[in-house]
Amino acid sequence: MGKMNIEDLEKIREQGRYKMALRQGTGRVRIIVHMGTCGIAAGARGILTAAMKEIELRGLHDVIVTNAGCAGLCSHEPMMTVEVLGESAPVKYVYLTAEKVKRIFDSHVLKGQVTKEFALEVVSEKTHS
């Protein structure tokens, strides 16, 4: 472990950026990548890495990303769930690619506009009367 980039770590510590932790669950936006066997086989790890890189590139400090188990929709993998604080319901995005993740960041994560074309289905509040 001698080569663990201590200088880089020191730099981050000085900047105080470390305060945004994955596991604290305190972010404005919470992204969950589903990592069941089905998800991993379909490319979920690449989606997690892509989401982490977007957060890093854009310098977002209020977005947390974590992984969780199978969402029960194996044929739609890879998937991620985006929860924005104050929004009524989390949105599940399906059949993801790194490019789609980028567009979801542009629109949903940054502007709060659901990227409908990749979303599983935005359930209508209306019920049959």
């Binding site: 472990m1 770590l9 981050i12 690449g46 992984n67």
Partner: protein, 180 residues
Amino acid sequence: MEDLSLHVLDIAENSVRAGAKNISILVVENVGEDCLTIEIRDDGKGMSAENVERAADSSYTTRKNARAGMGLALLKEAAEMAKGRLELHSVPNSGTTVRATFQLSSVERKPLGNMAETITAILATENQVNVFYRHSRGGKSITFDSQHAENQLGDILLGSIEALSLVRTFLEQEESSLTQ
């Protein structure tokens, strides 16, 4: 699964869901014996002898209403295709060890893939886990110990995106030093 590092991630995710706090991952490439060994050991809730028997059976899963849970069966298949085997040892309330061997030179052996991304993905899990990872190849080896890293990081949480990105970059460099 495209490569073995994805199998490792899948098995480690099983460990996380079995309540493991510590996961040890060893990858040993023994050229002299033409053998690749991958071992994933956890201190999760373990399995009964009966479940160990069935765990790598593709028709069995402990999860109700789930089509998932086939990870061990897939790893077994990958090992056997490359003239290796899967060994499973488990003690209830103590932990599970999964060991897969492969003939290193077999054309049917899947490539190892990106272990740096796999280790980072395990560390990004919601349930905090310690990961110990060692990869040996020829006379060289690299080691990553998340508890050690956490000590070095001081007040930086290993769960932060920045810390995880550094860990990924560090491991990518280390992995490439093994192949040089």
